[in-house]
Amino acid sequence: MLKIDNVYASAGDKEILKGLSLEVKSGEVHAIMGPNGAGKSTLGNLLAGMPYVQSQRGEVEYMGKDLLELEPEERAAEGVFLAFQYPVEIPGVNNMYFLRTALNAQRKYRGEEPMDSAQFLRMVKQKIKDMNMRDDLLKRPVNVGFSGGEKKRNEVFQMGVLEPKLAILDETDSGLDIDALKIVADGVNQLRAPDRSFIIITHYQRLLDYIKPDFVHVLADGKIVKSGPKELALELEEQGYGWLNN
């Protein structure tokens, strides 16, 4: 599904990704851990098409396409979804309106009929139930005045509605209370499917108790320096990242 091959990328004047390679197959869940400032969010941003992240070298192939050639909205319609580490607040834009506009824009790109508001409402109601989302958040402007945890839950809810093929969750577990963490993990687990993959960026092994990854990778100084089975996360939690310096 996704093949990142020896990618170098920078943000601003800073070189951040330095020869990163990673392959994600359909249906797999990959966890990415690593110290602060290692480049984890930059990787997510690069895949989603953030304009100020520039790739210098290397290739990213996604479902047979050159991902870096696509506009951000094209990537979304092709099934790439990034749950942001810091979701922005957009005053004046209603959450429901935003979601429906986004969904219909994606459907249009894929040559599908738009959803009318009745259909959309029915679908969203079902998702609210399935994902234990608070519907009052949906009536408010996008993320405006949401608590840290509420923003994260809103990201996961968007993922549930948009049903991406490749979902990248950037520290979606940070700032969540125990109950919210379970709700978010449930949301991910419900979406797990043979044709859907996840990249889960996290600092805590705790989330991985709920979402069992197929692989755990350590990203440090712009590249993957270690990969292993899910037990690697436990090791990291015990040892920290001091060993990277040896």
């Binding site: 989603a48 098409g49 953030m50 304009p51 100020y52 506009e71 951000p72 909205e73 990537r75 979304a76 319609a77 979804f81 990034l82 942001f84 979701p87 922005v88 957009i90 005053p91 004046g92 834009v93 935003f98 979601l99 506009t101 986004a102 969904l103 824009a105 994606q106 790109y109 402007p141 996008v142 968007q158 948009l162």
Partner: protein, 390 residues
């Protein structure tokens, strides 16, 4: 250009000689205006209020269009199915739709009672507005004496023949009366003066809508006299045009009155929009909120200026000026100036002004969910406009 003053005074003199419907007292007012005009010079960039507008466009047929990414249609404002009474102003005079309630009296402006006439304070800065007093031939006087669920619509329906139409309207609102007014400028080239006189406890919701083509011009001068406990809520949408020049002047004449105004200035091609507000807190305990949201694209220029003057003794005045601006092209310019002049104690005042581009992070957020850049921009602009719409 130098001929503009002569154009105005000639037009006024013709009218003074030929218009048999002018009462003598009004003739005298017009003669005064002509006399004052002769002491002034044409608007130019030397004036504060014309510094950021091309006053040559007063004499021109309109500006040149350059491409824009902006949609020209305005954000619609819900009207909740309120009954509309339509006043059509056209070259034959005016017509009123036949559903006009008895408590609203509409007559030609020339028939206004002298006791209700308001002399406006004009000077060099407002010379183009003074020209209106000298030259107006159109307009109505409206008197409303009841609290009504009615939207009174002024529709400007003049031929567009590169001649200015000078229109003066006066809206008198009796004690406790209440209604809505919508001023719709869709056609022609209009220089208008509107005087709103609100008596104690009356309420007017006003909507000024100027959605102009690239060749059209509009000059408006709007004066609001607010007695105690009166409230005026005004929403203005100024879109396009070659030249738009709006001045809103507010006088608080009693206590505990409220003036709220939200304005969207959207300048799409090569438009010049000046949007000026003067609020005079002459008395105690009045509140004024002025919000501007301006968007400039192409080679447009926008000047927004909100002034509040708080007189000695006008304590407990509350003032808010909130001006935000978005530039969409490197050639567009916006000048944004909140101003406070306070001579009283215990005044609560907040003012702010920002100029920026559309927020990249928000645009990317929308894009990352599948919304293309063009639509993402439109959504962001619309939400920005909404902040000004009351």
């Amino acid at each position: 250009m130098a001929g503009l003053i002569t154009d105005w005074t000639t037009l006024a003199d013709d009218q003074l000689v030929n218009d048999s419907n002018l009462p003598d007292w009004l003739k005298a007012k017009k003669q005064q205006a002509v006399a004052q005009l002769k002491t002034l010079s044409v608007p130019s960039r030397k004036l504060e209020y014309w510094r950021y507008s091309d006053a040559n466009r007063l004499a021109l047929k309109g500006g040149e269009a350059s491409p824009s990414s902006l949609e020209s249609h305005p954000v619609s404002i819900a009207n909740d199915g309120v009954e509309q009474v339509v006043i059509k102003l056209n070259d034959n005079g005016f017509t009123v739709s036949d559903n006009c309630p008895g408590s609203v009296r509409i007559s030609p402006i020339n028939a206004i009672d002298e006791s209700r006439w308001l002399d406006l304070d004009m000077n060099q800065e407002t010379v183009a507005n003074l020209a209106n007093t000298a030259c107006f031939m159109h307009g109505v006087s409206v008197e409303c004496s009841a609290a009504l669920e009615v939207n009174l619509v002024f529709e400007y329906d003049y031929k567009f023949d590169e001649q200015w139409r000078y229109v003066r309207n006066q809206i008198n609102v009796d004690t406790g009366a209440q209604f809505s007014v919508e001023e719709r400028f869709n056609s022609g080239q209009v220089n208008v003066v509107n005087v709103y006189d609100l008596q104690r406890g009356s309420v007017v919701n006003r909507h000024q809508m100027a959605n102009l083509s690239d060749a059209q011009n509009l000059i408006s001068f709007n004066q609001f006299e607010l007695s105690a406990q009166a409230q005026l809520n005004s929403t203005n949408q100024h879109l396009g045009g070659s030249l738009q020049h709006h001045l809103h002047r507010v006088n608080f004449n009693g206590n505990q009155a409220v003036f709220k105004m939200g304005t969207v200035n959207k300048s799409i091609n090569n438009n010049n929009i000046a949007d000026l507000v003067e609020v005079n807190h002459n008395k105690k305990s009045n509140q004024s909120d002025v919000t501007h949201r301006s968007i400039a694209d192409g080679a447009s220029q926008i000047f927004t200026n909100a002034k509040a003057f708080v007189a000695v003794g006008a304590d407990e005045s509350e003032i808010e000026q909130d001006l935000k601006n978005i530039l969409l092209s490197p050639d567009a310019k916006i000048f944004s100036k909140p101003e406070l002049e306070v001579y009283a104690d215990e005044v609560v005042a907040a003012h702010g002004s920002t100029i920026g581009a559309l927020d990249d992070q928000s645009l990317f957020y929308l894009q990352s969910r599948g919304i293309d850049i063009k639509q993402a921009r439109a959504i962001m602009i619309e939400s920005f406009e909404q902040e000004a719409l009351l």
